[in-house]
Symmetry: C2
Subunit: 333 residues, 2 copies
DNA sequence: CCTGTAGGAGACACCGGTGTCAAAGGCAAG
DNA sequence: CTTGCCTTTGACACCGGTGTCTCCTACAGG
């Protein structure tokens, strides 16, 4: 296997690698064969320097739910598997007053092709504007459209929550409690809207004290459960804004000797592992987070992914679904 | 604020940034001040090109437990927060026969400073050798020492499992079942050894059929629960190799009307969110995974972390702890 | 057969740092 | 004050690609 002297300049190789159109098929094929034969791998650092852009996707997140982050991450990785891209993970501190500066320094240093913003920080418009200014592509992931379609992947949480609560109504529940998500979270607001829509549609009102505050954590579920189940006339069903809080409510029910689902129906949101690990298994809303990761990547870097013209046709509102398990039954009284 | 003409060459700036010793304090301070004043941030891509090394740490994982991966990741990020390093996440497919090639290409392309190997792939000696050959520093995370101290962070799982099972014995349990982890996992083997040590120490033997296979998944817990709790003389306590399987066993107990902990004590391993979300809350072994992430970073890149000579003094076997909750009680008969 | 033209390929500078080695500067000794 | 040595600083090439501009070549048309 003789190694021929360089018949083409490195610039020509560069053209082949970057799919330049000013090159004949003959040359292209010759170079491609040589690349394959020699196992040549372009140095990404050199490319990054010349392009002033690193072939990376940054995942910026501040989501308390590990499963959500990792599932999304997995979706992104699925999508970029056969590309030249890699994934940089960057948790940020939503509460920090240096948030914007931190992210700015990070983006300026790493110069990723694009950034993905997971909720709840995806709801921060300043971050999106920062990406825009720095010339970093971005995609925001949310529970409802946050931006124009070029920058947003979302799911139809509101509708599905309404559907789930509608099922409770169909089963005969009239006293339905609600455990809210954290204040200021779009996802929480969407879930709450869906809940109220279902109630309105059924002509029901929310009795005083039937809506408890929460923050997506188990402990908040405990508190909410204590509050709701100590009422003189407690709800016969409770919709919790996420699974962790639903687990908290369920454990309070156990403590009080209230049987689930016989005496109390519970619905959660997320379809986290917890939903199937508790007993009875929790009816919940599955959020297609992994698929959203794939979709987000396709929106962010279609030019790196060898996908056809299809990409822009795909919906960027993904379908959440209500998953019925054993925590829901008709009211006992 | 006048911008003085360059009084020093860029090489001198480079020396300051890279903490070269061949530079006077006076020059160093002047340059440092200028850097701060101008907000100069060295371009990592250029440095990467010149150093032939990217200032990144790669996290290679194939762990089914999202919480574990994310906790570890968080620990690493805690440790490198104030450094110039960033974290690249790379899931790998343990089963793939191209595993080594995939990782090789990844490491050759990204050229990270170092790689962290999470279990179970940390148990793959070929991967460690590959890192060695490519000149990529590495740290292996395991349930027991896998390599010399320069390359390993582990925890004392075996001892703590023995301790936990010892507690069961102290409470009076004599018929103790075991749900195993996946075959070939070091972590599973360590937990099993700890279990058997405790039994031996107490002079107990494992009755036939008291050890059920498992794979760390909930469904395996269900199967194991069905098997163990259907025995003519079922165990009064079961140690499960992880929390998910413990949750499965617990749900089978519920289905059979067996009260936990009154009629059956259950212990898990991981202290995952599931452990506190199920009812009764699960006694389990907490694995200090986040702290291990910090420690792994200190072992991997002490020179980037502004830590004193202390680093090498720290133990690289971290302490797991037995967390007692409500799933354990004396046997009822 | 010669010339004009379009499009493919190459030369060279450049991206923003670091390695190497030579030069400059400071200080002590003569 | 001069010399010599050691330390600090600077000049320049280089890392491995890409952008720009120029040159060359093949082909069509006169």
């Amino acid at each position: 296997m003789s190694r021929p002297s360089p018949a083409v300049s490195k610039k020509t190789v560069s053209r082949v690698i970057n799919r330049s159109e000013f090159i004949t098929d003959k040359t292209r094929q010759a170079v491609e064969q040589a690349i394959k034969m020699l196992g040549f791998v372009p140095n990404p650092q050199a490319r990054a320097l010349a392009f002033r852009r690193n072939f990376l996707i940054a995942l910026l997140h501040d989501n308390p739910n590990a499963q959500t982050v990792l599932n999304f991450q997995q979706g992104v990785l699925d999508a970029i598997k056969d590309s030249d891209l890699a994934l940089l993970v960057r948790p940020v501190d939503r509460g920090s007053d240096r948030l914007l500066d931190d992210v700015r320094v990070f983006l300026e240093k790493q110069r990723p092709i694009g950034a993905m913003l997971l909720p709840p920080i995806s709801e921060n418009d300043d971050l999106a504007a920062l990406c825009e200014n720095l010339g970093v592509r971005y995609v925001r992931v949310g529970s409802a459209p946050l931006d124009d379609a070029r920058h947003c992947v979302s799911s139809n949480d509101r509708e599905v929550v309404a559907e789930a609560v509608g099922k409770l109504v169909e089963l005969g529940h009239r006293r339905i409690g609600f455990v809210r998500g954290p204040v200021g979270f779009r996802s929480a607001a969407e879930r709450e809207r869906g809940f109220h829509e279902a109630l309105s549609k059924a002509g029901l009102t929310l009795p005083a004290g039937y809506s408890a505050p929460g923050n997506y954590r188990y402990a908040a579920g405990i508190e909410a459960g204590e509050a709701l189940l100590s009422l003189a006339e407690p709800p016969t069903a409770i919709f919790c804004s996420n699974d962790e809080m639903a687990a908290g409510v369920m454990s309070v029910a156990y403590g009080k000797g209230i049987a689930v689902p016989a005496d109390l129906s519970i619905i959660g949101f997320d379809d986290s592992p917890t939903a199937t690990h508790i007993w009875p298994a929790l009816s919940t809303v599955r959020w297609p987070i992994r698929e959203m990761g794939v979709r987000a990547a396709r929106i962010l870097v279609p030019d790196f992914l060898d996908i056809g013209a299809k990409s822009s046709d795909e919906a960027n509102v993904m379908a959440s679904t209500f998953v019925e398990r054993q925590s829901v039954a008709p009211p006992s009284r």
